[in-house]
Subunit: 347 residues, 4 copies
Amino acid sequence: MLYFNSDYTEGAHPKILEQLQETNFRQTVGYGEDEYCEKARGLIREACGAPEAGVHFLVGGTQANFTVIRAALRPHQGVISPVTGHIHVHETGAVEATGHKVLALPCGAEGKLSAGQVAEVCAEHFAGSMPPEHMVQPKMVYLSHPTENGALYTKAELMAIRQVCDEYGLYLFVDGARMGYGLAARGTDVALTDLAQLCDVFYIGGTKCGALFGEAVVIPNRELNRDFRYAIKQNGGMLAKGRLLGLQFLTLFTDGLYTEICKKADEQAYRIAAACEEAGIETYAPSPTNQQFFIFPDSQLKKLEEKYVFSFWEKVDEGRTAVRICTSWATREEAVEELIADLKNLG
Amino acid sequence: MLYFNSDYTEGAHPKILEQLQETNFRQTVGYGEDEYCEKARGLIREACGAPEAGVHFLVGGTQANFTVIRAALRPHQGVISPVTGHIHVHETGAVEATGHKVLALPCGAEGKLSAGQVAEVCAEHFAGSMPPEHMVQPKMVYLSHPTENGALYTKAELMAIRQVCDEYGLYLFVDGARMGYGLAARGTDVALTDLAQLCDVFYIGGTKCGALFGEAVVIPNRELNRDFRYAIKQNGGMLAKGRLLGLQFLTLFTDGLYTEICKKADEQAYRIAAACEEAGIETYAPSPTNQQFFIFPDSQLKKLEEKYVFSFWEKVDEGRTAVRICTSWATREEAVEELIADLKNLG
Amino acid sequence: MLYFNSDYTEGAHPKILEQLQETNFRQTVGYGEDEYCEKARGLIREACGAPEAGVHFLVGGTQANFTVIRAALRPHQGVISPVTGHIHVHETGAVEATGHKVLALPCGAEGKLSAGQVAEVCAEHFAGSMPPEHMVQPKMVYLSHPTENGALYTKAELMAIRQVCDEYGLYLFVDGARMGYGLAARGTDVALTDLAQLCDVFYIGGTKCGALFGEAVVIPNRELNRDFRYAIKQNGGMLAKGRLLGLQFLTLFTDGLYTEICKKADEQAYRIAAACEEAGIETYAPSPTNQQFFIFPDSQLKKLEEKYVFSFWEKVDEGRTAVRICTSWATREEAVEELIADLKNLG
Amino acid sequence: MLYFNSDYTEGAHPKILEQLQETNFRQTVGYGEDEYCEKARGLIREACGAPEAGVHFLVGGTQANFTVIRAALRPHQGVISPVTGHIHVHETGAVEATGHKVLALPCGAEGKLSAGQVAEVCAEHFAGSMPPEHMVQPKMVYLSHPTENGALYTKAELMAIRQVCDEYGLYLFVDGARMGYGLAARGTDVALTDLAQLCDVFYIGGTKCGALFGEAVVIPNRELNRDFRYAIKQNGGMLAKGRLLGLQFLTLFTDGLYTEICKKADEQAYRIAAACEEAGIETYAPSPTNQQFFIFPDSQLKKLEEKYVFSFWEKVDEGRTAVRICTSWATREEAVEELIADLKNLG
């Protein structure tokens, strides 16, 4: 079977394994204070144009999400998220388990929040008819870029959200589990430097973008960075051999490897999407990144699934199903060609 | 001003103050193990037809809600609630602060959940397309009777919900902050004995039904009752002078006082509702209990609010506003008559 | 039986019941925003010489403790307490249940912390051999005045602790569940105004000092006062009929009632202590307040316990037992006289 | 510099890197449900003689500890630990952050709990003079094998603790972060099969015993295993590429690699210890495992530290310091020889 169901079906980019091999017997101090981590932090700060930002390496996305949120909020505060946000639906209530409510707002198929929605929630809370203390206080906006559905915010959209955050004293937190595929997308005007300017905290995903595992949390807001290492340790994210994380991000941020391998995956996704469109398959949600969402007639899907694994997304109606087709840094050209050929012969 | 905005604007039924006065200098042991508490527990068990049920006295509704939920659930489990449920909107995230997600389901103006909704959520979780462990496990149904909007479940509706709970291993928890007004309502077929048979845990509200404060938590499910006193203490609900709670419920459950005073309030509410209807005021949500919801033209409302205090509920449209008009055990006949007269003269 | 086991065996001071009676049918707004609360806040601010301090009324001591601590600390921070501190031993882990470690330090029979101990813990944490982030960060000092064992801090001791708190950025939180008995004690040089100057937050106990229930939390540190009402609501401490708390503290702080009734109890305690000493009973821990601790030969104790209830404290050795003898605002003169007479005839 | 300060200064055993390399481009499902994990589970169950035990792979020790404890306990329950236990001192209050108190008991230099201590705590709680609900209920015993100080329990000691656990309904949880060095130690009579019989849950450490990272949690008690995957996900321990954990344990449990590499480290440690003893260096705490604790005169230590890195343990007195000397699966023979030679020439 050929897996197009997700972007974590293989190990890591070969250069990462090579580095692990090469440095295996060097002795370093633990807990992320080794030289690999230090160098990786430097490269990331440089790429973000944020020489003062805190940079910390965590193991996975759920961990990064709840660690950041728990560290930032006081007990009576909550985090605004689109209703499709990963923290709201697919993390087993990890945020609530730290004591904080996710204030979920409706969103369209793209999975994006708007500045207007955030403003409305805040206005209602801080200047509504009820005394505010009977309700959870909104204090953070959580969004993912790309979203769960592969969509991207424009720079203008992010700036508008930032403005509302400033008005009401909210933090802006961007989940970048698939950041690489977003940065490398055609037509995007959002760069790492923009995120570093607009966010209080965000992360650059490794797990889905070429690393074995790992997320680089960047914290431009110095107030949130204070004591963050305590938060990492308390929440189980401080690897004894922190060097493993440093080394991976060092490799990914050397010679533009991170963007390069994600760009390749985006391009493969576009070709698959084009083939779907040519074959008359309906788009579920448009996406400029490595995740593509299409609505297949069940008969055609059944045939394809004899050979390919996709990710079930939704039963759209009697007879049709939305699936996610996913490429990654590891997707082989031959697999893409084969899928495209089979899409052409669907009819 | 005459307050019709809520059912907690006065102190307590005079018989309760009388009892406090009379017993003031008797010395008792603390923490709810005195004779008044014991007697009150006995009367409540009797009224519920549940001789084996645990009965505990807590101070308030929010406290009762999060103490019960925290004691019952394991960390990965959540509680299903209508989107208008008090725990979801008006308790400052107290349930989430104990680590548990509120799984909020849409509901109509009555604020009721249906058995079908619960079944659907459970089916999706336990037999859906995703591995369940990525999502919060539904383990409890929370509903209020009367609901936030004054509505009542029928016995058949509660039995249907109970059946779904049995099928999926869920607890049924009924918030009875206004229980008295529900039990005394015209046309209801739900008695305390039914609640004791159908619920794993529920409470009988004192604060809004004649007591200074206090909620009597009844736990027919012995498993949930185990170690519940630890939960009360840990969550700040164990009064040193627990006798105060016992004495109040002892008074309320002697000679049918609880139902009697709530019935009076319901009847007053019906008369006000009838006057509204006669005056052509539109019903917002029908209610057989002490809370009545009507949509007033703003001009009429403004006039009434020179003399009466109602509770703002919602801006329905340009020019009209929904308000709650609330009676209670303490509402004076003269105040009701005056309001009815003024409603008649609204036009 | 005559109860000398605790200071919460009766109801409330008659003036409080009188006020409850008198105001019972007045209609007020809820949640502590009524005029009685406002007036009580004013009197307390005045008594504290702290016109800007936040003043909030909570229901009980455990609730006050964990609500204050949870509101003040970030997740990786802990609270220093003597090993006998109420939060460490007798609150069912309520502080830990909010996520915070109690950093318990050894103490003598008086139950007091010293400034030196606090300084040592902080020096070890912030400048020790381990990276601090592997350990809980000390951020608050919790102490009770009077202590669990009836002892009092001197003003100089509190000032020294304050100084260490300032040096390391710690909050000072004083549990005043029995504050009245401390303020009224012979020989103390600590007044309410001192506490208001030295503490970030403290509370003035009502439950054990003449009220039915209630603790007045005073927050001179404005930073900690921010959003504190959210914390009260979230933790179940916001009474719908908040007026009940306001009214009680209004009564206690009118015409010096609070100090007057506690002073009487202290004087009774001194006379009982003197009688014990005359009878050759060994002191367990010296106390200038309403709790007295003596070590009785078991044979004598057994005889006394036919008529009196004391509080078991510790089995000191084969044949001797330490007990607490407690007076309160409610202790009758005749009971004291009777006990003194029986102590005289012990031999 | 030669590092003898800890057992996590290098990467992983070469066979593990080899396996990562070889399987890198195979596509697997995520979240620990791949074939490598399945096989590793099988080997571990076999090694434990526990065909029905749950086996789960977590990322690190702190995470394993708080995930297990949180999943097992109800909110009012706590975990008994020696005062030197890792959960009590070096995990930034991670257990308390999940809401549970660590009930820390004194212990000697070896860092071991005794059955008698546990029995005493339980007797005091469940049959003491106080109503138990005012205190945290002991529900689990946590101990590490080897302990933080390198010591091992005997089978008889563990059986005695198990017996007390059975008597009071407590879970027994063994932290095996350095399990390999314990299993391979000279003279131990505790095998994996014993742990599987005696514990409700324990883990087999990978991070310090040859893996890049990872701990294999074994849960013989089926009740605790129920829904454990939810707990892993909620607490951030479920790696998207779970195969990485499976593959590592598969390698370690193939052909006895795990025991073999730990045995080598133990033997090296014994030789270093012998050299210390010959050089007249005082033992701090006797240890049959890879961690050795010696008290050096500061002058000698200073000289050694020009070339070697040890781990500071304690300032024993003016002029002498206790250090930990640590070998591991990665320690080179030449480094050991060099250290031994330098110890000989200390004088």
